[in-house]
Structure formats: C-alpha cells, structure tokens
Amino acid sequence: MVFQCVNTRHPLNQFRDEMDRLLSGVAEYTATSAGLWPRISRGQHAVNLWEDGDTLNVELEVPGLSSDQVEISVVSGELTIGLNRPNNKEEGVLFHRRERWFGQVKRVLRLPFDVDADRVAAELNDGILKITLPKAESAKPRKIAVASAS
C-alpha cells in the first residue's frame, strides 16, 4: 500500500500530536500554577499501538506499578491512561544513581475508530500493561447490498 491513512507517522498526524502535547502542557501549567515556570513534561510515556482484526491493542511498559496505580478511561473517542508511580524511597538514603522515573503521568490517545467502551479490557503482567479495545459495531465495515431495479 502506498498510502496508509491511519499511519500516525504521517507529518500531519505528527503535527497534531505536537499540538496535543502543547495543549496538555497548558493544562498542566494551570494545574501547577504555584510554580514559577510552566511545567511541560519532557517526554510522554511511550506506547505501542496496533490493530489486530477488530481489536485495537495498546501496550505500555509500566514496571513496578500495581493495578490501582493505573487509571484507564475511554471518553468521546479518546483513550486516557493515567499512571502514578510513587517515590516511596525512605529519606536519608544515599542514591548513587537515580534513573527510574516516578510521579504522575498521563497519556491521551485519539482512537482511530469508535470502540465498544463496555468491552475494553486491560491486563497487567510483569510490568507490561496491555489494553484491548474492540471495535464498535458501528465502526466495522459493512457491505451494502445494492438493490437492482429489475
């Protein structure tokens, strides 16, 4: 196929993602306006997204998180994933290296088609979060019979 209309690597989609990122940064700024500088997150939590028949799969690496530290919602064509990784290391401990992330992150993904929100499922195994979103009936391709006036 020469052109894939749902390929998110398309420059226009990249631009849209950038705008989303910018706007979510503004939201973060108002939420944490106590700070002197706007707190726009440096990176978004990486996701892999692929279609598998009539199901959309979203996978994230979330090592150390338990299910109550993950919040998933589907509202008006957007999947929101909230992660909260507490920094529960005791005080006074000497860190020689500190590379593992902590804190709260949110990722919003625009879904390429309507999903059946009641059948969205998520599982957490070995630090891998996998969300499966079945395509809504209305989004499935339907063959339209052409009535012939004979």
């Binding site: 749902v6 390929n7 998110t8 973060e28 944490t32 707190r39 997150s41 440096r42 990176g43 978004q44 939590h45 990486a46 996701v47 892999n48 997204l49 692929w50 279609e51 996978e59 690496e61 979330v62 090592p63 150390g64 998180l65 338990s66 920094n87 290391k89 401990v93 000497l94 860190f95 020689h96 290296r97 500190r98 590379e99 593992r100 992330w101 902590f102 804190g103 709260q104 992150v105 993904l109 390429p112 957490l124 070995d126 630090g127 891998i128």
Partner: protein
C-alpha cells in the same frame, strides 16, 4: 508531576563493551542504586523479562545484569504507533564497595528487579567500643 528523567525508553544500542553470546541489540534498563548502611541496593526496570531468562553475575567487582526478552508481537505487526522496542536487556557496573558475593540476593516483582548486595564485613561501619578504665 514526573521527575526529570525521560519517560521514553532509550533506543536499543549495539553491544560494544564486550562480546556476548547473543549478538545484536539490547536495551539498557533504567536503574536506581541506593546505598544503605549494610548493603547496596540495585533496582532495575526490566518490564517483560521472565524470571528464568534473567542472568545476574558478580565477578571481580563487576555486576552484570542481562535478560533475554522475546518479542511479544509477530515481526510483521504493522504498528500505528511504535514508540518503544522490545528486546534483551543488558547492563554492567563496576562496584567499588567490597561485596559479600555469597550473600547477594535478587527478587523480581512486576517487572522490577531488586538486587541486594551486602557489604563485606570489612567495609561495614563498625562501632568501636571504648573500654572504661575502672
């Protein structure tokens, strides 16, 4: 709010520092290294790694963590978004502290590997009692 560390998995790197039996690329797990009174704690993020496929070696002051991770999706999967890769983990450290290598323990929970490296007796802070002259 997240800390300043990147939330994006760094790209895989070629094995350059030493030869490994499995060629190709590997990912460098993010780690925290904490020093406690009697041990060093190494905490590494290895999501997707299987307990049986993790190999931890401590030899002559070098700690090596490696894990074989098989792809979770078929090679020909057409991703709409592919923001991270899946593959082997590898990382090695020089540990300057004296470690009691016999007593090193490891645990794996929810994709997080925690290693306890007990300090060897000699480098443990020792309280010296002062005898009182009666």
């Amino acid at each position: 709010m997240a800390n300043e560390n990147t939330l994006t998995k760094p790209p895989a790197e070629e094995s350059a520092d030493r030869e490994r039996t499995r060629g190709g690329r590997h990912y460098r797990p993010a780690v925290d290294i904490l020093e406690m009174a009697d041990e060093l704690l190494v905490v590494a993020d290895v999501p997707g790694a299987d307990r049986d496929k993790i190999d931890i070696q401590f030899e002559e002051g070098t700690l090596t963590i490696s894990a074989e991770v098989e792809p979770r999706q078929p090679q020909d999967t057409e991703y709409l978004l592919e923001e991270y890769g899946v593959g082997d983990y590898y990382r090695s450290f020089q540990v300057s502290e004296k470690i009691d290598s016999e007593r090193i323990t490891a645990e794996l929970a929810a994709g997080v590997l925690t290693l306890h490296l007990p300090k060897a007796g000699a480098s443990k802070p020792r309280k010296i009692a002062i005898a009182t002259s009666a």
